[in-house]
Structures are given as C-alpha cells and as structure tokens.
Symmetry: C2
Subunit: 478 residues, 2 copies
C-alpha cells in the first residue's frame, strides 16, 4: 500500500480497516523510529481511538473523503490540541496548546489519524534536522545521512512508509529539500494558499505550509483539502482555490516548460544534472516544449532571501535570546548575527524582491512552469559541513538550499518530485515552479513525469524488510 488513494479505496472496499492501517503504522514506527528518529511524539492511544471511530463511521456509511482513517504525521511546529508542540526547541519543551493549527483542524475534519509529531531542525532554522535536543533525524535511504530539513522527520516518516503523508513548513526549502533527499513528493504552494494559523512562526514573509506524500496525485488531494482562506492568518489569500482533480492520465502536450539558463552557471552534482536532463527529455517526449529562459540572478535572489530571513527570524526571537541555554550554540550565533543587519539592507532586499517578482511574472508570460533540480547535491552525511564538486568546496547548507530559496522569496508554488537515484542509491528531486496560485499546472506536469518514470513511492531497504506485525495483521484481514 503506497498511496492514500490506494488506502482509501481499500478502506471503502472493506479490504482493510483503519485500525489495521493504524496498528501497522504504529508498529512500523516502533520498529523503525529508533533508527530514524523521525518522531518527537507518538500518539498511540489517540491514534487508535481515532482509527476505531473511523472504522465505525465507515461502517455507518459516513465518508469524510480519501484521508478518512488514514495514518498521517504532523511536523512538531503545528499546534495539536492537548499535546506539546516543541518546534524542535528547548524553548517550547512544554508548549501544550488548547487548540489545533488550521491545517491540523482540516486534517482532523477529513478523518485523518494523526499518529505523531515529527522531529525537525531546531526552530526550523536550518536544513540538517540534526537536532541538538531531540537527536538527529536519519535518512531512510542511508541512515548515516541527513533527511534534509527543516521538516526532516516528516520526510523521513513518509519515505520510510511509516505514514501516508505528513505536513511540514517551508521557509527556504524546508519541505522541498527533505522531499528531494528522502525521495518523496513535497510541495510548497503559493504564499498565502494554506493557512499558517497555529504554526510556530520562523519568518512571516517566507514561511509556507507544505505537504509530503508518496505520489503527486496524493499531494494534490491534500492540497485541495488544506488550501483556502483563513481569517486567522493575516497572510492568507482570498484567491479562489483551483482544485486539481487527478485523472488517470496527465497530459502535458503543448505545455511550455522553462529551463532557466541560470542553471547552466550553477554548480550541480553531475548525477543530478543527468537526472534533470533526462526528465526534461521525458517531458519533450510527452509533447511539452522545453524552452531556455533567462531568470534573475540566483546569487541576488539568495542574498535577498538570506537578509530577509535572518532579519525576520532575529526580530521574532530577540525576546528569547537572553535564555542562552535554550539554544544550540550554532543557532544562537545565527540569531545574534541577524541582529547586526541594518534596516536599509532589509529594505533593499525587500525592494529587490518586488523587482524580482515582476521579472518572474515576465518569465511566466513565456512559459507555463520552470524546471530544475530541487537541490544541487544529494543527501550529505550527518555532520558533513562541506561538499566538493567541480574542484571547489561549498558549505553543505548553501548547496542544499540555493535552488530552493527563490520560491520562498517570490512566494511561487514549487513541487519536488522524485526523478532518479544516484549510483549510491540516494534519491534525486526535480523541482517544478509555477505561476502564483497555479498549483494545478505543476501537479499536471509532475504527475505526467511521475507516470512516465515511476520514481515516486519506492521503498527504501530499511523499510522493506518484512515486518512480523504487518504480516499478522494481513493474516487477520484475509
């Protein structure tokens, strides 16, 4: 069972029950979480109770949609009523809210079974998910490697088939980077598309709620559910939601796909380059037109993103900085650096941001979407600080984030979809970026490529070993 749509069909056909699915998820978590460290909190009892209720509802003919009775996970940055929400930080060790985040509310209403809260980078401010307080999250394809971050636990849990989907947050690639490193689908929709109410903020002008799943169609089903205006989030958009209704065949004939010339100037791992080229050729074989386009300089886009990110995070965290022992020394240093930025630097970055948005709007008059790699490197090792390629050394964090940050700066929807594996067996992510509020188009393109290549939903070795608990469950079902 790989996708939510498959699980939903099986639940409706009474081929299995939500209790079985949930028990299986909890058993896999019990078996694999000690190796992956993907969860901070597992909600066994609550999940089982919700699953029993879902089964009763389904028997009674209630149908809450495809998530009804399906086990899922939530990044530990989303408020969940009655449970703690840590943001991976000591500051919020005992932060128990009496309300749900908007996205959690919607998932619950859709009948999803929340089995736990996922581990993450400290305060979501980084991409290794090597958490000093809750331990490093591991990549299920190679547990010596990072899953990416900041939503590393959500990606790891979905990739290891612990849950069918998870939500995360993305401020500079924090959904797409772990999706690429772990071989899941991951989307960061347009700024304002999913409510951020109840999400512990990192950076108000860059934070987005995002989704991890094991297929493009699952991701689309989830975005349909989570998108929409929410008065409780003042950045929430009133733009009507375009629903992507995934058909059996996604056609892209005649679509114009932009290939940013800028990619040619960026250092990108050779195997990744090959995979992306292959995806582009595949799109052409499916009838799309791949068009080279000029886009604003990625160095300037990254610089503007960094100035805005650091300024806004430091402003937000300033009141907490006197509690030095609540931060890792690395994070404290980052936050203190942010205090040194000048207002005019920040204003200049915001001005550049507006100009860049206009420039990208022009690009999107010529093409329907842009493609490229999600990351310039595959998942690095835990504690690896630098990466060398083409004879030069680069900070791992920069190599991982520089292709992902622009979509946050610009508020554009971007999806990462698996498009291959390195020879070492590490997943490679293809990033497709679209026009504001045109998520349907990037779903269409990524679904077509997924259908033609089938890299999504593969099972890493760690998760494919037989599971006694699952075997017994299956026996009981038959």
């Amino acid at each position: 069972m790989v996708t939510i749509l498959q699980a939903a069909a099986a639940l409706r056909a009474k081929q299995l029950s939500s209790v079985e699915l949930t028990d299986e998820a909890l058993a896999r978590i019990a078996r694999l979480n000690p190796k992956l460290n993907a969860f901070i909190t597992v909600l066994d009892d609550e999940a089982r109770a919700r699953a029993r209720k879902a089964d009763a509802e389904i028997v009674a003919g209630v149908d809450l949609g495809p998530l009804h009775g399906v086990p899922i996970a939530v990044k530990d940055v989303f408020a969940t009523k009655g449970h703690r929400t840590t943001a991976g930080s000591k500051l919020f060790f005992n932060n128990i809210t009496d309300y749900d985040a908007a996205a959690v509310e919607k998932l619950r209403k859709a009948g999803a079974v929340i089995v736990g809260k996922t581990n993450m980078h400290e305060l979501a401010f980084g991409i290794t998910s090597n958490n000093p307080h809750f331990g490093a999250v591991r990549n299920p394809w190679d547990t010596e490697r990072i899953p990416g971050g900041s939503s590393g636990g959500s990606a790891s849990a979905v990739a290891a088939h612990l849950v069918f989907m998870a939500i995360g947050s993305d401020t500079g690639g924090s959904v797409r980077i772990p999706a690429a490193f772990c071989g899941t689908v991951g989307i960061k929709p347009t700024f304002g598309r999913i409510s951020r109410y109840g999400v512990l903020p990192l950076d108000f002008s860059l934070d987005h709620v995002g989704i991890f799943a094991r297929s493009v169609r699952d991701t689309a089903v989830l975005l349909n559910l989570l998108a929409g205006y929410d008065a409780r989030d003042d950045s929430s958009s009133r733009q009507p939601v375009k629903r992507y209704v995934p058909g059996p065949e996604a056609k892209i004939r005649g679509l114009r796909i932009g290939w940013p010339d800028d990619l040619n100037g960026q250092r990108i791992d050779g195997e990744i380059h090959v995979a992306i080229d292959r995806a582009a050729r595949m799109a052409e074989n499916l009838g799309a037109v791949v068009v080279p386009v000029q886009v604003p300089d990625h160095i300037a886009l990254n610089a503007a993103h960094r100035v805005i990110l650091h300024s806004e995070v430091s402003a937000l965290m300033k009141p907490f900085l006197s509690q030095r022992d609540k931060f890792s020394s690395a994070l404290l240093a980052l936050l203190q650096q942010g205090l040194l930025l000048s207002a005019t630097d920040y204003v200049d970055a915001q001005r550049f941001r507006r100009v860049a948005m206009q420039e990208f709007a022009k690009v999107f008059q010529k093409v329907d979407c842009l493609i490229g790699p999600t990351t310039a490197i595959p998942a690095p090792k835990i504690d690896q600080t630098d990466v060398s390629f083409e004879g030069e050394t680069e900070d791992v964090r920069l190599a991982a984030t520089r292709l992902a940050r622009p979509a946050n700066l610009l508020g554009l929807p971007a999806i990462s979809v698996p498009c291959g594996f390195t020879q070492q067996g590490l997943p490679i992510g293809l990033q497709i970026t679209g026009r504001p509020f045109e998520e349907t188009l990037i779903f269409q393109v990524s679904a077509a490529l997924e259908d033609a290549s089938n890299y999504s939903g593969r099972v890493p070795a760690i998760a494919s070993a037989p599971d006694p608990e699952k075997a017994s469950n299956n026996r009981r079902t038959r």
Copy 2:
C-alpha cells in the same frame, strides 16, 4: 470664483474663457509668488497655449469635464514631460523627464491647464517647506509662518487663490498638514488608490499622492479623476473606484463618527480643541452619532511610522549620500541616522503595523469614520523649532505630524477640512479618517460639515487685495 465646479460652470456658460482664467492665475502668481515663494517653475507659455486650445475645444463642443481649461499646479515631485522636476533638491536640479507622472497624464487628459510646479520641503522629507535651495515657502495667512509641508507650495498656491487645485504627495502628513495650516481641503486617499508612477519616491510603503482644493466637492471631483489601477505602479490597487457624486446637500444623519479616546491624552492647542469639539457638536446637530472609541496608542503608531520612514528613505537615498554638498546639513544628518537603524527594528515596526491595521479594522466595525484635529498646533513661524503648551515644550515637527502619521502607516484615507480659525487668524484643520477605499464616506461627512460651517475657500488678506490685472480681465469679459 472659488471652486472648480464654479469655474467649470462659468466656462461652459461662456461667461469667461480659459485664457482669462489662466491669465488671471499667472498674473496673481506674478504678483504674489515673490511673497509666497510657492512655485519653483512657472509654465507661462505652455499654460497660455493650453488655455487657448481649451477655449477652442469648448467652442467646438468638446467637453473634457470640470477641469477643462482650469489652471492648476503640480508639486515639483511629479514628472512633467519636458520640464524639470527637482523634488526641492539639488540632486535633481536638472532632472528633466520625457514623460508625465500618471497623475499629470490624467490631469492633462482632463484638459487642466498646468501653470507651474510648486515648491516643497527638500526631498519631501520634512514639514516646514523651508527649502534651503529654493527658499522658504510662505503661508498666505501670515507670511512669517510656514505653510506646512512637504507639499507647502501646493497648499500655499491653492489657499492664495493662485490656482484652483494642486496635487501633492503625503508620506507622513505632507498633504494634510499644509492643508490644515493654509486652510484648504486636502486628501490623502487610501494607499494604492492614486498611481505613484512618475512621482519621485521618498518612501515606497508610506508615500501617497494627494489633492488640494478649495472645497470638499472639488476634491471629490479630482479624486474621481485621479483614482484607479495603474500597472506601472506596483503598489497600485485593483480595488474598484467608488465615485463620490457630490449632491447639493450632504446628509450624515445616522452615521457613526468615532472620537478617539486617545485624543484626550494628547496635548492639543486649546483653540484647536475648541474648533474640533465644535465640529463634533455640529455633526451631532446634523444627525450623526459621535461615539468615543479606543484606538491603538498614538505613541506606538508614530514610533513605527518613524522607523519605517527613516529606514526606507535612507535605503533609497544611500546611493546619493556621497554627494554631501547636494543636501542641507539637517537632511544629511537625518539620512545618516537612518543608516543606523537595525533590520530587526524595521521588522518589528512592520509587524506592529500589521497588528495596528487589524486593530483599526475592529474600530471601523463600530464607527464609519474617525474625527480629530489634523495637527496639534496651528502654523508655526518659519525657523520656529519648539512649541510650548500646557507647560511643556515639543519639537514643532512632532507637534505638526503626530496626528497625521498614523493614516500613512495604516494606509487609511484621511481628509483635512477647514473647521475654524485661531484668534490670530490661522486656519484649523479637522481630520476625518475612513475605512480603506471608503473615500466617499469621508467626503460625505466633510461636505456636510463644510456646508454647515463654510470655512473652506476663504481668501487670505494677501490674496484679497484688488488685482489690477484681474479687474481688467473682468472688464473685458463683460
């Protein structure tokens, strides 16, 4: 002849010609500008040519609307094709553009006769209009006093009956303060309502285009003309324009007018307080309900405005700061201080701004508009730095701006309408602030008060002395 609507009627009735009106305006400028210094550039020839064309058009039955053939003025911050636009700064001494600002374009299309470009505070960054490069603008009610600023020349020219209307820009009160000090009507509409294309920017998140005229109905006619979306200004709003069609009687029965309790805590000149109280009672007599309301703290609103203003202006001017001799020493010091602000201060101010907007939205659920004084003091003397009242001393610039700045921070529409005179004969301005894009309501309220009190359009002594040129013109007409 006081208002545009009167002039338009007379032109249509062929009781006078645009050439006569324009000659009269130019003659008054020739006579009074040496005393008022309201103009940096007078466009005699171009104005006369346009007036002749207007007369020919009117004879031919062309009707471009109420501004057709009417002499007006433009603050020297609006680009005017083929003429210099200085922004009152040495930096732009020879800045001749080959295009018109959007507002100028619209005025021209409406057949207005632009007689000149008005003097202003250096770079629009201040409220005295005591310009170090072009000389101090004088208040026509007392030429020893400032007209307010930064659009001081526009206010002075309209108040002294040199032109029927003028446009200005308002970043922290730069239209409403001079309107109050000079006894004209002045409006700063909602942020994004009038295009800023072609306006030399001071501060992109606070700058608004505004209008000076001698009656509320004139002001409304002009806003109808100037409002609307413009793709060339990325802050321009697509909100549909509500047109205010001024009837002979403005009714306010049943309207709820908010009286900010915050005013009670502010130091306000006694005579101004009396005038505002009188206006409030007048509104009640006309059937409106005056309701005390709690509004966010004005000190915080002013602090946030100041941080944003100084950060954005300094970012904008940073590239010019090496040209030290192009700035007055006072302005240079202000701009250098702005460089010292931190990014986190700026971010905090923007966060507060969003919260304050939400707070004001709640206030506007209870009332239709807010009233209060435009300024805490009447026009001070040129070179006066402090003002003393209630036993304390305050910087003139703060006393003049603190009631006006919040509407810029919040983007709310606000009008200043004459509501009395001090015993020394200085005008007093009543400020009416409305909901976003609800200019029609503040026009309705201010028109009702104007009708009931008739403080608008009065002629200062300096302008009421007989003008030989005008007399001869009138003879010719009869």
